[in-house]
Structure formats: C-alpha cells, structure tokens
C-alpha cells in the first residue's frame, strides 16, 4: 500500500487518534498499575506535612524604645542520612568548626538510612550564622573537588544541612536582669519565661504554638497558616536611669561592704517604675548560671520577693496615720525620757538616750522610737492597724512582676499579736514588708494622699496595635492635707539634720531607717538593714527613691550608708529626667 495514495487528512486523523488513544491508555495504565497502592500510600504519607507553627517571641523595650529582649537568628545543623556520602568528613568538619565531639558525630552520621525510623539526625544546635558561613564554604569547596560525593576517598559534606530558627537574646546582658527574668531558649519545645517580666507575661510574649497539617499538593493550595508574633512589651523602665542606678548600687554595696542592695525609682504620680536594681544580677543570655548566682534561697529580685523588717522608714506610716486621725499635729510636744512601756515591754531609742522635749518634727528628725511608740499608743491599736491595712501592709501590691512575696500583718486578735507589737511595729520592727510594698505605701504621702499601684508595663503591642496601660489609684489612706503636712515635716527634718540625703538645689523629703536583723530569734545590733525612702521635688514630686542595703559593714546606720546613696541617685536623676533646680523650675512655672 502506497502512503502517497492516502490523503493527508486521513494521516492526520490517524495520528491524532493514536495520540488520544495513547493518552487514554496511559490513564488506564496508571489507574490499574501494580504500583497504585504504593502511590496511594506515598501520597497519603507525604501529601501533607505536619508543621509546627511557632510565634516569634515578643520583644521587650524600655520606655524609649530601646530593645531589652529580642531574638537572633541561629541554626540547627543535622544530617539527612539518605544523602550522606562521607560521615568522617562531616565529623571532622563539625569537630574543627563547631568543636563537637568527633566520635559522637561520626557515629550519628554513620547511622544507616531507614525511611521508617532514621531519616534525619540533629548534630548541633544554636550555631551562629558566622559558623554556618564557614561550614557552607567548606561544603562548596568539597563539592567542587568531589562532585556529588562520588569519590569515597575524597571528603564530601553531602547530607549535611542546616535550618534557621530564632534564639532569645538580651542585648544589655545584665541590665535590669532582675526585672526582665529570662526565657529558657535552649528548650525549644518546652521553653518558658522565668522570673520578672518574662514569667509574668509569658503567655502574652509567647503568642501561639500549634501543629498544623499543610497539604503539599499545590492544587490544594490554601492559605498557609501563620502564627502572629507574640505581643511586644514596652516597659516603664528608663534604660539610662536603670544603668545609672545599678552602677550607684554596685558602688554602694562594695563601698559599704553590704551583702546585697536594692534601689527602686518610681514616679509617685502614676506608679511607673523607672528603675529597679537589685543584687546579685546575672547575664540573662547565660540563664543556666542562675542556680549558681542565686544560692541559699536568694530571691531573683529582692525588690519584690524579699520581705524584711524595714525599721525607721516605717515611722512615716505611723506618723501619717496619727496626723490623719488627728491624734497628733506637727507641733504636738513630747517629752522623751528615753524609754516607754508598751504591753509590759520597755522600748528604748536607737541610742538608748533621752532626747527631752521634742515636737513631732523632732521625733522624725531624730528617729525616736520612744516617741513613735507613744504616737501609736495615742492612736490606738484599732486605728493604727486599720491605717496599716489601708496602706497595703500585709497585702501584695500586685505589681506585674513574677514572684512577689508578702508577709502577713499580725493584728490584735491574731495568735501572733501581742500588745508590745503596737510599740515595735510603730518603728518598723516586728513587721515585714518588701521594698515595693513600702514604696507603694509611701507613694500616698508623695502623691497628695493617693496611693498608686506600682507597675512595670507601660504598653503592649499586639496585632500591630499599641495598648497603653493606665494609672491605677488603689486607695487614699490619708488626706491630701496630711500628705502635704508630713512631706513638709520630713523635708524640714532632713534640712535640720543636715542629712547626707540632701541634694543641692532640690528640696527633697524622706526618712532613713535602720532595722536590726533577728538572728536565731535575737536581734543583733551589728547586723542591720539600712534603708532610705525619699521623694522630690517636694512641691511637685516627680520621683521616689527607695534604697536598701543589707548588713552594711562600714556603718550600721541608714543615715550614714543609705542616705548618701539616695543623694547620689537623685543627683543623676534630675539630669536624666531633665528636672531643673527648684529656683529655675519655680521661676519658669511662675512665668
């Protein structure tokens, strides 16, 4: 049969038909192939991917936007066993570049490939990008010399892979470590925030973590689920003030031979914590050292977690209560004979001396225990403890930091309360508070009677929107008049005493405190807690500073060791907070 005799359209028809038939046959062949079960199984197994969607942990900023906690890129290095050509080359490379154990890596990289169980093995984690660059360069170099790793005699890093992920980082290292807390980033599955802000706001920072099924079939394309980053926090802390306060604290602890120390700076009008420093501190990037640094039950942040007998700074609460109740006025006379009997126990002054005729300013100025015990008895136990309750003594401040402690306040009727407690409590013995508790109580005196809740969170950013926190007034234990009267009394007493707390150009109010520490049930006059709480400028308080030095060796007195620390802090504060000297400020205000 001659093809030339067949019309071209018939040839075309035959070819197209044959082509169509072939396609049809191929479809039938695929559907009836002996491998169809395997293909189905393969599609079922690998058609979807289980992917863990993990939010990026939120950032933490100071009040001006300086990053205090962020995330950096690191890598997990592993081997895909199916593609490994030369395990010894991999072991040698990682040993020299990452310092891993050669024998261990060699054993792992030599694991036979098993699709059911052994596919991928992690060899190292948290590898820096610089190290990855070196590994990558070496891999490329080997690949050029031994393409596809076919020559077993030559080195090849085939099968070696790396995957990026994020690691928590604290760029300021030890700065504000007591406040920030840390995130246990080495535990990639169960990592969590511990202490401070990281623990308190762990859920907010962490965002979400979930496993989702993602189809790998591009025809079944869907919106790939994403996990929005965890909320970022803007703290009330001022990085510069925090650093300055930490430096002053470290110097004070060292110079006075104190065991530890704490300084808090707060805005008395809104409760914003501008700085909170405590010793010891740690580099948060090496959080695993915490157990070695905070030994013997030392709290991570003493400012909120350590209760102690505050001593004479507590007198401001006693005096505030008595003034507010009308039990005394600044001019009320008191003849100090050097002792007073309260509840069958004799109470003495700090120097065991008799200070003679005094008014209430003199009592505060000389910090007379006998006088304040008398004031408390004049006030009476019911009113006295009622006021302490209103000041928040015995209650948590609920500051937004993890681990806040509280010591219960014994009141009349409690099994642990005795009549003498009225006397000792009046000057801060037999009662225990945390520094933040004391600061919150004192804020009512600095803030026209309004007591504000101390807080560390200024705002948080979630889903691209910033939510600011608001000031919370938690009570008004005393009147505005009482607060102003006591502030003036305290400022005057500091001036008359020529206290080391005074700052040239700025009028400040405050009170020193020296509390004996009970050792084995007995108070020791050699071991004291030296404290100072003060605020300024008196006419318009913009800062409150709380200083506490534990067991200072240079002197046991708060007036000697704590008052100068207050002054040093305030001298720096007024510059960092742009507060002009009183005369300039008042003249500007007058204009």
């Amino acid at each position: 049969m001659n093809l030339k005799n067949i019309p071209r359209y018939k040839i075309l028809a035959v070819l197209l038909t044959a082509f169509s038939v072939l396609i049809f046959l191929q479809m039938i062949r695929i559907q009836t192939s002996t491998s169809v079960e395997y293909l189905d199984e393969w599609a079922e197994k690998y058609g979807v991917e289980v992917r863990t969607i993990q939010s990026e942990r939120g950032y933490i900023y100071d009040r001006w936007g300086h990053l205090l906690a962020g995330n950096k890129e690191v890598y997990e290095v592993g081997v895909e066993l199916q593609f490994v050509k030369n395990p010894s080359a991999i072991a040698a490379a990682l040993s020299s570049l990452l310092g891993t154990d050669y024998a261990k890596v060699l054993a792992e990289a030599s694991t036979p490939y098993d699709p059911g169980s052994s596919v991928y093995i992690t060899l190292a984690d948290f590898v820096t990008s610089e190290q990855i660059t070196e590994i990558s360069n070496l891999k490329d170099q080997y690949e050029k010399g031994n393409p596809l790793g076919e020559d077993p005699a030559l080195p090849s890093l085939r099968g070696l892979t790396w995957t990026a992920h994020l690691q928590r980082i604290y760029p300021e290292h030890t700065l504000a470590s007591n406040v920030l807390g840390f995130y246990t980033y080495y535990d990639r599955d169960e990592g969590a925030g511990y202490f401070g802000v990281e623990e308190k706001y762990n859920e907010l920072l962490a965002g979400i973590k979930q496993e989702v099924l993602i189809s790998l079939d591009p025809y079944e394309m869907q919106e790939i689920p994403t996990a929005p980053a965890g909320a970022s926090l803007i703290l009330t802390l001022d990085r510069e003030i925090q650093r300055t306060v930490e430096n002053i604290l470290d110097q004070a602890v060292k110079a006075n031979g104190a065991e530890n120390g704490t300084i808090i700076v707060m805005n008395p009008k809104n409760g914003e914590i501008l700085a909170m420093a405590s010793t010891p501190r740690m580099d948060l990037n090496t959080y695993w050292e915490a157990d070695n640094i905070f030994t013997d039950g030392t709290p991570f942040n003493k400012a909120v977690s350590q209760v102690y007998e505050p001593g004479s700074i507590f007198k401001i609460l006693t005096m505030a209560s008595a003034l507010d109740a009308g039990a005394v006025t600044p001019d009320t006379p008191f003849n100090d004979t050097g002792s007073i009997n309260v509840g069958g126990t004799t109470i003495f002054n700090w120097d065991r001396g008799a200070w003679g005729e005094q008014d209430m300013i003199g009592c505060m100025q000389h910090s007379l225990n006998v006088c304040l015990a008398w004031v408390a008895t004049e006030l009476g136990p019911t009113a006295f403890y009622d006021y302490l309750n209103r000041f928040g003594i015995g209650h948590r401040t609920n500051i937004d930091l993890a681990g806040e402690e509280v010591y219960p306040l014994s009141v009349p009727g409690d099994p642990m309360w005795y009549p003498v407690n009225l006397g000792t409590n009046s000057f801060g013995q037999g009662v225990a508070v945390t520094p933040i508790q004391m600061l919150m109580a004192a804020s009512s005196i600095a803030n026209d009677g309004k007591m504000v809740a101390p807080h560390i969170l200024q705002a948080y950013i979630q889903n691209g929107q910033q939510y600011n926190t608001t000031t919370q007034v938690v009570g008004m234990p005393i009147s505005e008049k009482t607060a102003d009267t006591l502030t003036q009394m305290l400022a005057t007493s500091l001036e008359q005493e020529a206290s080391d707390a005074l700052v040239e150009g700025y009028r400040v109010a405050g009170k020193t405190g020296t509390a004996e520490i009970a050792v084995n049930g007995q108070y020791s006059s050699n071991a004291t807690n030296a404290s100072f709480v003060g605020w300024g400028p008196v006419d318009d308080p913009q800062f409150m500073v709380y200083v506490w030095l534990e067991k200072p060796q240079s002197s046991i007195w708060g007036s000697v060791v704590a008052a100068p620390v207050f002054r040093d802090v305030v001298k720096e504060l007024v510059v960092l907070m742009n507060i002009p000297p009183d005369d300039i400020r008042l003249s500007i205000k007058g204009k």
Partner: protein, 173 residues
C-alpha cells in the same frame, strides 16, 4: 381486474420516479468519508483544546501554589532576618557600648550644677515611645488569595452556572 392492474402500474411508475430523484441527490462516497473524518477530527481537536486549556489552567494553579509556598518560605526568612538585625542594632547601641563610645569621643557625665536649662516654648518634653498605632482600626479579615487561584476550571464553570441559576431564580421571585 383492469383497474387493479392500472393502479399497480401507476404505483411502479411513482416508485421508479422517486428512485431516480434519490439517486440524483446522493453524495459521493468519498465526500461522506471526508465529512465523517472531518467531524471526528473537529471533535478531537475540541477535546484536545479543552484538555489543553484545562492543563494550562491546572499548570498555572500548580505554579501559583508552589510560588505561594516559596513566598511564604521567603517571608519567614525575612522575618527572621529582621529580628536578627534588630538584635544586632540593639547590641551595637546598648547602654554600655554607647557609654564607651561616648567616653572614647571625649564626652563625660554632666554634674547637675553644670547644667544649663533653656525654656523652649511649646516643647512638651521627651515623650514615651509609640511603636504601633493605637487600637481602633479594624483590619479586614478577607481571604487574600483570589478564587481564580483556588478553583479548577470545572469549579469555575459550575460556580458560574450556579450563580447564573441563582440570579435567574432570584429575578423570578
């Protein structure tokens, strides 16, 4: 008998005349063959065109799917890199580093007594940082991927028919 013979004769003549007419309009066999093959080819070509269009659309959908995965992967990379750069900037501008740099440049901490205060009318002082807009703007939650990238040709055809029938029904009501 004569009548019936005449009727038979007329019937035969009519049948003969009809057969002649049929024969006159019948196509040549080769033409019928060409037509059949042509029709078959036309149908085949239509099927192939539809299959081709279907393949093309499917191919585009697959490519878009793969592209979406790649873009998502790229986005994750970029997010990690942004986080890393932020951390690096924070390290370079940390308080200790800045203080050291300032010290090296000859700056020193000011004493309060040395400070000179200048009144700047209208200046409210340093304001707290605002890193994001306040709440109030409701973001739309609509699906970002167009339906064209999510539907097969048949889905599109059927949804079109459904829409058409719905609108017709709606119009009658």
């Amino acid at each position: 008998m004569t009548e019936s013979r005449e009727r038979t004769t007329r019937r035969r003549e009519r049948a003969r005349s009809k057969g002649w007419l049929t024969q006159a309009f019948k196509q040549a066999p080769w033409r019928i063959q060409v037509q059949s093959v042509g029709l078959f080819l036309a149908a085949l070509v239509v099927v192939l065109i539809v299959a081709g269009v279907y393949l093309s659309i499917s191919g585009q959908a697959a490519a878009a799917g793969v592209g979406a995965y790649q873009l998502n992967f790229q986005r994750q990379n970029l997010e990690r890199q942004i986080a890393d750069r932020k951390a690096q900037i924070a390290i370079l501008t940390s308080a200790s580093t800045m203080e050291q740099r300032a010290s090296e440049m000859g700056f020193e901490r000011i004493d309060p007594s040395q400070a000179v205060y200048v009144v700047v009318p209208g200046y409210a002082g340093k304001q707290s940082v605002v890193l994001a807009p306040p709440p109030g703007i409701v973001e739309s939650q609509q699906v970002m991927i167009k339906s064209a990238y999510r539907q097969s040709l048949w889905d599109w055809l059927f949804s079109g028919i459904n829409r058409l029938s719905d609108s017709t029904r709606g119009g009658n009501e």
